[in-house]
């Protein structure tokens, strides 16, 4: 994959000279850089990977079978536990699918609330993805900064719905609660902005205060990580994936856009989901980037990573717009959805843009409140399927670099 035309010019030539016995190396399932319990079986020739076989399923709970024994409303907490780093977006995906099947029309205020929540979730998820990626490559500090910021978002989510990780907040018809009127400023945010702890304001103002403080910080992450010479050496030009390969392997989200395919369901998706973002102004970052370092090429680890970082900037703007619209809109934020609502003899499938890619949910109803078939198509599952072909010909040390740039979550892959 990454072979250079002339082997003598390739710094890895020494490896080709020294033929050693092939060795099988198990990376994982408890390896810290495998982002959960993933086992990569590497067939190595010296330092070079000749074959990489992922073994998944360590977190398998057969969530689809659980979905065939519960009503859609009861299933929401299980969607939290799939992609546990972006549980809000998973709730939104499932809720939109149920709404598509039952033809539920969410009120405008509820849609703005959902955009604000989902985009904050995207920021939190990408922050963790960035921090963990730095950690994989041996840079520790960005991880601490990312967690400091993410902690504030989790505090804000806790004020909105009471949970910090598995929210079950966005439900078919809207959300469980309206956004709170008065909340104390999260302690982390009070500390970094120099405000007295316990200061109270509306939830929307607290988020605005966070965004005002957070937005200039993004430049610091770029200095720390994105434009860090060592980081560029470890990521640029490695794990190159062509657009055709990304499409063939069903890659979605930043992994697809990093390969130069202009596709984002927030803009291009089906009506029931895309209308949440109707009238919003945002850009979709797509590789190649003009400010990329000279070594970076389209579809490599660096481009995928940078794509995520630019999405954070867009999400900050989306949250601001959503909060303004939410406050300017009157009316209800949800419409009632009975938990044991009967499902029609019908079927539907919907994909939504989660931070890691296009998450698909499907329901087949048979006239009872409980679906005959619940389908969860994981975006990380498809994104992970390229790790085998991408790793061939790389150094062993590059495998965590490729894996981290795909930003997979095992809870979602194994379901």
């Amino acid at each position: 994959m990454n072979a250079v035309a002339d082997p003598l010019l390739d710094p890895r030539t020494i490896e080709f000279d020294v033929r050693t016995d092939e060795m099988l190396v198990n990376m994982g399932p408890q390896h810290p850089s495998t982002h959960g319990v993933l086992r990569l079986l590497l067939r190595t020739d010296g330092e070079i990977v000749r074959e990489c076989t992922p073994h998944i399923g360590y977190l398998h709970r057969c969530a689809e079978k659980i979905g065939e024994n519960l009503t859609p409303a009861q299933y929401i907490p299980y969607t939290d536990r799939m992609d546990y780093l972006a549980a809000m977006n998973m709730n939104l995906g499932w809720s939109c699918t149920v709404e598509k099947l039952l033809k539920i029309d969410v009120p405008e205020k509820g849609r703005h609330l959902r955009v604000a929540i989902a985009e904050l979730g995207r920021i939190a998820s990408h922050l963790l993805g960035m921090g963990a990626y730095g950690l994989d490559l041996g840079s520790f500090s960005p991880f601490l900064y990312a967690f400091r910021e993410r902690e504030i978002i989790l505090d804000l989510f806790e004020h909105a719905c009471g949970a910090r990780l598995t929210y079950s907040y966005l439900t078919p018809g809207g959300a469980t609660h309206d956004l709170p009127e008065i909340v104390p400023l999260p302690p982390g945010l009070a500390q970094v902005t120099g405000v007295a702890e316990g200061t109270e304001m509306s939830w929307c103002d607290a988020v605005r205060r966070f965004l005002d403080w957070f937005e200039p910080r993004i430049e610091e992450y770029h200095t720390l990580l994105t434009r860090n010479g060592i980081f560029i050496k470890r990521t640029a030009g490695i794990g190159e994936m062509s657009a055709a390969m990304a499409i063939g392997h069903g890659c979605t989200g930043p992994t697809l856009r990093g390969s130069g395919v202009d596709h984002d369901l927030r803009r291009d998706g089906e009506e029931i989901y895309a209308r949440h973002y109707e009238g919003y102004e945002f850009e979709i970052p797509i590789g190649p980037f003009p400010d990329a370092p000279p070594d970076a090429i389209l579809g490599d680890n660096w481009t995928r990573f940078y794509c995520r970082m630019l999405e954070v900037v867009q999400s900050v703007s989306l949250v601001r717009q959503a909060l303004d619209r939410y406050e300017a809109t009157d009316g209800p934020f949800r419409i009632a959805h009975r938990w044991n609502q009967k499902l029609p003899k019908d079927e539907c499938y919907l994909e939504t843009e989660c931070p890691r890619g296009q998450m698909g949910f499907g329901i087949v109803g048979d006239g009872t409140p409980i679906p005959v078939r619940t389908r969860v198509k994981s975006s990380s599952f498809c994104n992970l399927s390229v790790i085998g072909p991408l790793s061939v010909g790389c150094f062993i040390a590059d495998v965590p670099s490729i894996l981290g740039s795909l930003d997979v979550v095992m809870g979602e892959i194994d379901r």
Binding site: L101, G250, D262, H263, E347, Y349, R373
Partner: protein, 169 residues
């Protein structure tokens, strides 16, 4: 291009291998099992639906204890969902198979030669629903362990009493 147009285009090319168009929130077209690789190649190259969103199956059979309420013939439906870039059209194809039994799994040609991602989706479908994809390069279990017994998403699946010395129930 609506589902009717896609149905007509497929009908023109493949004749009787393409069966009826079924109305639903996501309308679906029933196709013959043997036509799967050719038909998917045609859909990808000629109709431009390059993205295999999903490949799965559904076990349409009575739930345990509800046999009397079930209508129709018990069956397995293998589902292919495709779309294009940017998203303007979606297509759902289905192959209806007999349910078979553990010793005699239903068979269907693999699509892994057309879409690389189908290889993983087909392993998952084999693992959880027991569909044998003929010609698949490595049709092994993917989410459960290699020595797992049965296909968990089947309606008549019996959860084991114990697995590897651990009590399951």
């Amino acid at each position: 291009m609506s589902a009717e147009d896609l149905h007509a285009a497929l009908r023109d090319r493949f004749g009787d291998a393409v069966r009826d168009l079924h109305a639903a929130t996501n309308p679906w077209i029933e196709i013959a099992a043997d036509a799967v690789p050719d038909l998917l190649t045609f859909v990808r190259d000629e109709l431009g639906l390059q993205h295999l969103n999903d490949l799965t199956a559904a076990d349409i059979a009575p739930r345990p204890g509800e046999e009397s309420k079930f209508e129709g013939e018990p069956r397995l439906e293998v589902v292919y969902r495709l779309s294009d870039f940017p998203l303007t059209r979606t297509l759902t194809l289905k192959v209806v198979l007999p349910r078979g039994s553990d010793d005699d799994l239903p068979e269907i040609p693999t699509a892994s030669g057309v879409f690389p991602i189908a290889a993983w989706h087909e392993r998952e479908t084999f693992d959880l629903l027991g569909v044998r994809f003929v010609g698949h390069p490595n049709l092994t279990r993917i989410l459960t362990d290699d020595d797992w017994v049965g296909h968990p998403l089947r309606k008549d699946y019996q959860q084991p009493e114990e697995y590897g010395g651990i009590r399951c129930r």
